[in-house]
């Protein structure tokens, strides 16, 4: 029972973290119709920034996260302007360009951090929260959960209450019709990629003290993001959050009982099954071509 409860809590925390980068992928795909293969590398850049700014230069953890968010957002904006906008007519071209970015970011990270072993960032928050005398959560993970929940709440508020949010959702539904209504779709693309990249940078900042940082950590991130996006339904933000939490629970439980590789195989199989049975995902709507 302890193990089950503990796994549920761990899954929830993991799910909040998955949501952060999966949402970014969904936003970018929804508005710009481009699969950003470099999204995992954006998270990696965020984590590396924490390592450089916080662990190497000794600047505080929270300011380091701010630096990570700004840096990754700038990278995202550059990608939109230089790569995705000129190739908008062709979704495949955007995807291929993002693969090019992926290589470049990995090399930059290798040059910055050296080719040695994975980097570690000592957790800035110590101690463990004990609930009901059986569930133990390190404060670092509590912080991660609170921040991701706050970020997702903020995003929800932005999308449903602000004018930009409405316009963004309109563009995601139908770009041409949105443009006919006088919405500046280029501006909305900039907003979408800024939000998506900022969330990826934040995710990188949150994961930095919890795991190993290396130039290739983006691979697992993108695999997870794909699974979550597909299971949740391409283009559905609430679906992505729900799928992120469900998948994180699923992955945590299978990992506890069968091991991590089996968990990923099961996740990928689940994704293929969803693609066959209900390609629009659990909360998905039909994506207009």
């Amino acid at each position: 029972m302890d193990l089950v409860l503990q796994s549920i809590v761990n899954g929830l925390i993991q799910g909040g973290f998955y949501s952060l980068f999966a949402i970014g992928l969904v936003l970018i795909f929804g508005v710009m119709r481009v699969v950003n293969f470099a999204h995992g590398e954006l998270v990696m850049v965020g984590a590396f920034t924490i390592w450089v700014v916080h662990a190497q230069f000794g600047i505080g953890y929270i300011p380091a996260i701010a630096v990570a968010i700004v840096l990754v957002t700038v990278i995202g904006l550059l990608m939109e302007r230089v790569l995705f906008r000129p190739t908008r007519a062709d979704p495949l071209a955007g995807l291929i360009c993002s693969i090019g970015v992926l290589f470049i970011l990995q090399v930059i990270a290798t040059l910055v951090g050296g080719d040695g072993p994975s980097k570690q960032v000592p957790p800035p928050y110590h101690g463990t929260l004990v609930l009901f005398e059986m569930i133990r959560i390190p404060y670092q993970r509590v912080f991660s959960l609170v921040v991701s929940a706050a970020a997702l709440g903020g995003l929800w508020f932005f999308l449903t209450r602000s004018k930009f949010g409405w316009a963004l959702r309109a563009v995601a539904m139908d770009r041409e019709v949105a443009a006919l209504q006088g919405i500046n779709t280029n501006k909305i693309s900039i907003v979408a990629i800024s939000v998506g990249a900022a969330l990826a940078g934040l995710a990188g900042g949150l994961v930095a003290p919890l795991g190993n940082i290396n130039p290739h950590m983006g691979h697992n991130v993108i695999v997870t993001a794909f699974i979550v996006t597909i299971v949740g339904g391409v283009g559905s933000l609430s679906g992505a959050i729900l799928a992120a939490i469900l998948y994180a629970m699923f992955h945590t439980f299978v990992t506890v009982y069968f091991g991590a590789t089996i968990a990923t195989i099961a996740g990928l199989t689940l994704m293929v099954v969803v693609l066959i049975v209900k390609p629009t995902g659990i909360m998905g709507v039909k994506v207009s071509e």
Binding site: I265, T269, V272
Partner: protein, 328 residues
Amino acid sequence: MSDQGRFNLRHAALGAALLVIVVSVPHFLKFHHQDLLIFLTINVLVVCSYRLVTLTGEWSLIHAVMLGVGAYAATLSHNHLGLEIWFTLPLAGLTGALVAALLCFPLLRMTQFYFLIGSFAAGEAIRLIWVEWVSVFGGTSGLRGVEAPVVWGIDFLDPIPYYYFCLAVVTLCLLILYRIENSRIGLTLHAIHWKAALAESVGVDAWKYRALAFIIGSFFAAIAGGLKIHYLGSVTPNQFTIGFMVFILIWVIVGGYNKFYGPIIGVVVLTIFDESIREFEIVRPAIYGGMLILSILFLPLGLESIPSKFRSWFGAGSTPSEPPLTDR
């Protein structure tokens, strides 16, 4: 393909020159470069078989894993059944075709973006099975023990004989692939890509032809995997990651995939280029990434399109405009 049937003296001379070059080239190279030449020859088959899959307009991300299927099939049949390369290669191809045929049912229900992601997921799942199932596939450290035989006193582990062997196999496969593309099947695949609705309305079963392209492409990919592994001597799951898949994509796209020879130009030019920047080991992937981006932005039809661009600049007759990257 308009050149088909117009076989003239110029083509004959070009072919003869090409033949002389590919036959004589290993004798001018150092040992390390002979190795590279073998892999280049095999990669030519990889890109050409991948092009067949993409003819219908669907881009799969499972091709690299299909090489792995062939490589594991060759290794296992060599280690457990004692088969030599003459039998392991066809067996590898058939295994690849079989796996592809089974995957058709889930994967080909999807198109475009979904197919891309679905094929990526299926490939990654297969690769993780090799990682996880240690007793059969040897886990991350893979399997060893497969090597080319000694026949009539010729040691096929020596690069030069193995190069000629590869050259023969790859040439044969390329001829078959070329014939397929210019046959009724190939034309139907083009039709499905450019005019899907029209093709279906005249009674073409698009699913069947997409499946056929996928199975044939995987068959040749698996043969390439077998060829590669008989030279390397060992197989690991890490040889077939998405990283290798990305290289296949780069070769095909930078070379240009509208013509049969485009991907071949891509893989040859980029391999030579790659070797020339060997000293910049760490930044090599970034140079590749930058080239990929530049070629998408400024040369979307690939290196293959440079001559026709030149011709149109200097006004030597009009060139037919090529279709755009994708027709959506």
